[in-house]
Amino acid sequence: MKKKFKCEIDCANCAAKVEEAVRKIDGVTDARVNFMTQKFTLEADDARYDEILKEAVRVGKKIEPDFAVEI
């Protein structure tokens, strides 16, 4: 399943770092953090989607405290 969310991310470099970390989460097929459009796209296993999404936000916040996703 692939879904797009509005997100808050402060700089282009942070976006790249968050993107890379989220991709490494187990069950994530693809992830994108778009600084320009302030959109977060997560493609992950259907069955565990909500769980993975939560984990992604947690990992993102760890790297970039200002990272926030509107769910």
């Binding site: 808050e8 402060d10 700089c11 282009a12 470099n13 790249a16 994108r32 778009n34 600084f35 320009m36 459009t37 302030q38 959109k39 760890k62 790297i63 405290p65 200002d66």
Partner: protein, 637 residues
């Protein structure tokens, strides 16, 4: 966002004012008791420092806890602490303050450019008026419209989903979608595309697609995704950023430890190392390149060309070979009867009518053009079979020659010269290479010939010349049409390389051959109207579909979509692409150059932290402003 920005600005200004007051107090020699005490002075300066920089310090601490040592907040904090330690109290505060000022400018500029791009893309309808069966009108979200719903579009409103007009007549403004400023006239039966703005008339339309499948939603989706397909320059810079920071930090460490081992003077070298840390953030670089591509894609869509990714924009800037389809791309794509040559004693209308009868079962462009010509005439009888299939006509296709039709006991032949020769009919040869000529005979009697032409688009010649001016070295035409027609169109447009009588698979082979002929760094584009040429569109470096607004297959297969069918948009998008790539290169060279310069000057002790912070922040802001130039450009069509 803007609320956050306002708060940020207020805090920065307050900290700045406080800092200046303290600085003036110190320099003017007031309160000597306070400023002579090192700790009191430090405490005093810590107030504006923490006021402006507490978010940075907080992030730095969080970063350390989470193991993000090379975070820019951490590096800035470390640099300013270094300045405090070496006794440069004012500088520590200034560094933090100006870093925040720079961050503020950055978010402001990025926010501005984001807003101006989304303004360009302000095509999404915000509501739909659904007409219910009881006659009431309900205002709903476009998402809630179902296929088959009747919608009311009032003057000035946007068409919510792709639909067909049921009632009413109006002028539609398609400028936001196509860049075309002339409004389009629509009446009952015409398809209308979502996102167009209704003019003066009231329209009743039937929804043909749900919102998500409608043109407007697909375009928005495409533009949003475009910035995710990264250009080579962007990928380079992201990779570069990964190494840049660690390298600068390690150099800073070396600078702080190695030279003082020989010279002593630790404080001086630690200070110089701190200067390094200040410029170690790659943000100016990382932001400026994607921002310029984002701007380029925005500028292109403003002028009616959707480019599906930064990578395609980059390829367009190096476009050297344009391969183009003929029918529907360089030519209008609808055939028109260009001349009638009835045999002696035959009326023009009789000739046309006979041809139309024979072709009445056909939907071939030639049949349609004959029907159209007949419809336009005032003198011809209009009934007999024209405009629809008459059950009384029996048609036999004669492959490669034409057709023979039986109608009320008589036989009508419509076809090429070979058909006439085969049937032993004396005909008058027509010398018109560019046209398709149909000869018509009825019951063995020659009636005359009808020449049908596909007219070359008005601006095609100008567009071909303009492409060449933009650095395109070869324009190649591929067509399934006859050699005579192809060569004559080529001559008319100044295209020297014409390959005719190609099947769709031959076109792919030809493009592959051309791809091997080009230099590695050059790009090849295929330009087509999106009908039957999806394989070629995919094969080319950049597949450009035109005049295909509303055609899903073409939008899907192409890398760039010209929303109307104006050929002049091609040289224009090449110019935009070149400008984009140029600006992104300027940004890289400028940002890197300044950083390297400051690194060298910092190591030599010439540039202090002030200069470093100004360099870092100033470069970022200048790069952003440079990228914004792309959006300022006026439309050229």
């Amino acid at each position: 966002m803007s609320q956050k920005l306002k708060k940020q600005l207020f805090i920065i200004l307050a900290a700045l004012a406080l800092f200046l007051v303290i600085l003036i107090l110190e320099k003017s020699g007031a309160l000597p008791a306070v400023f002579e005490n090192r700790w009191a002075k430090l405490l005093l300066y810590l107030v504006p420092y923490l006021l402006s920089g507490w978010t940075v310090v907080r992030k730095a601490v969080l970063g350390v806890i989470h193991g993000q040592m090379l975070d820019e907040s951490f590096l800035m904090t470390l640099a300013s602490i270094g300045a405090f330690v070496t006794g440069e109290t004012e500088e520590a505060v200034a560094v933090m303050l100006f870093y925040q000022v720079g961050e503020y400018f950055q978010s402001y500029a990025v926010g501005k450019s984001r807003a101006s791009i989304s303004e360009l893309m302000d095509i999404a309808p915000s509501y739909a008026n659904i007409l219910r069966e009881d006659g009431s009108v309900e205002t709903a979200d476009p998402d809630d419209v179902e296929i088959g719903d009747t919608l009311v579009v009032r003057p000035g409103e946007k068409i919510p989903v792709d639909s067909v007009v049921l009632k009413g007549e109006s002028m539609l403004n398609t400028a936001a979608l196509t860049g075309e400023s002339v409004p389009r006239n629509v009446k009952a039966g015409d398809p209308v595309i979502s996102g167009c703005i209704n003019g003066e008339g009231l329209l009743e339309v039937r929804a043909e697609k749900i919102y998500d499948d409608s043109t407007v939603a697909r375009i928005l989706e495409m533009v949003e995704n475009a910035s995710e397909k990264k250009s080579r320059t962007e990928n380079f810079i992201t990779r570069f950023a990964k190494y840049y920071t660690p390298i600068v930090v390690i150099s800073a460490l070396i600078l702080a430890i190695v030279p003082p081992l020989f010279t002593g003077n630790w404080m001086e070298w630690i200070y110089r190392a701190c200067t390094f840390l200040v410029i170690s953030c790659p943000c100016a670089l990382v932001i400026s390149v994607p921002l310029s591509f984002f701007g380029g894609i925005g500028a292109a869509s403003k002028s009616g060309v959707l480019v599906k990714g930064s990578n395609y924009l980059e390829l367009l800037s190096r476009l050297k070979i344009v391969v183009t389809d003929k029918t529907g791309t360089l030519t209008e794509g609808n055939f028109k009867v260009s001349s009638l040559k009835p045999a002696e004693g035959v009326a023009e209308s009789e000739l046309l009518l006979a041809a139309d009868l024979a072709e009445s079962m056909s939907t071939h462009p030639i049949a349609l053009s004959i029907r159209e010509a007949l419809r336009m005439r005032e003198d011809g009888p209009k009934a007999e079979g024209s405009g629809g299939a008459s059950p009384l006509v029996q048609v036999e296709n004669i492959s490669g020659q034409g057709l023979a039709a039986r109608y009320e006991g008589s036989e009508i032949l419509v076809g090429n010269a070979r058909l006439m020769e085969e049937r032993g009919i004396l005909y008058e040869a027509v010398d018109d290479e560019a046209a398709t000529v149909c000869f018509v005979a009825r019951d063995g009697r020659y009636l005359g010939s009808i020449a049908i032409r596909d007219l070359v688009k008005e601006d095609a010649k100008r567009a071909v010349a303009a492409m060449k001016e933009c650095g395109v070295e070869r324009v190649v035409m591929l067509t399934g049409d006859r050699k005579g027609v192809a060569d004559s169109v080529g001559r008319e447009l100044g295209i020297t390389e014409c390959f005719s009588e190609l099947l769709p698979k031959d076109k792919v082979l030809k493009v592959e051959e051309l791809l091997t002929q080009r230099r590695q760094k050059d790009a090849l584009a295929f330009l087509g109207d999106g009908i039957n040429d999806a394989p070629v569109l995919m094969r080319a470096d950049v597949g450009i579909a035109m005049g295909s607004l509303g055609s899903d297959a073409a939008i899907e297969a192409a890398d760039a979509v010209i929303m109307d069918d104006n050929l002049m948009r091609i040289p224009m998008v090449i110019r935009i692409a070149r400008k984009t790539v140029g600006i992104s290169k300027q940004n890289i060279v400028f940002a890197l150059g300044v950083k390297v310069l400051i690194l060298v000057l910092g190591a030599l002790g010439i540039a202090g932290m002030w200069a470093a912070v100004f360099a870092d922040v100033g470069v970022a802001v200048l790069c952003i402003l440079n990228s914004m130039r792309l959006l300022m450009g006026k439309k050229t069509i």
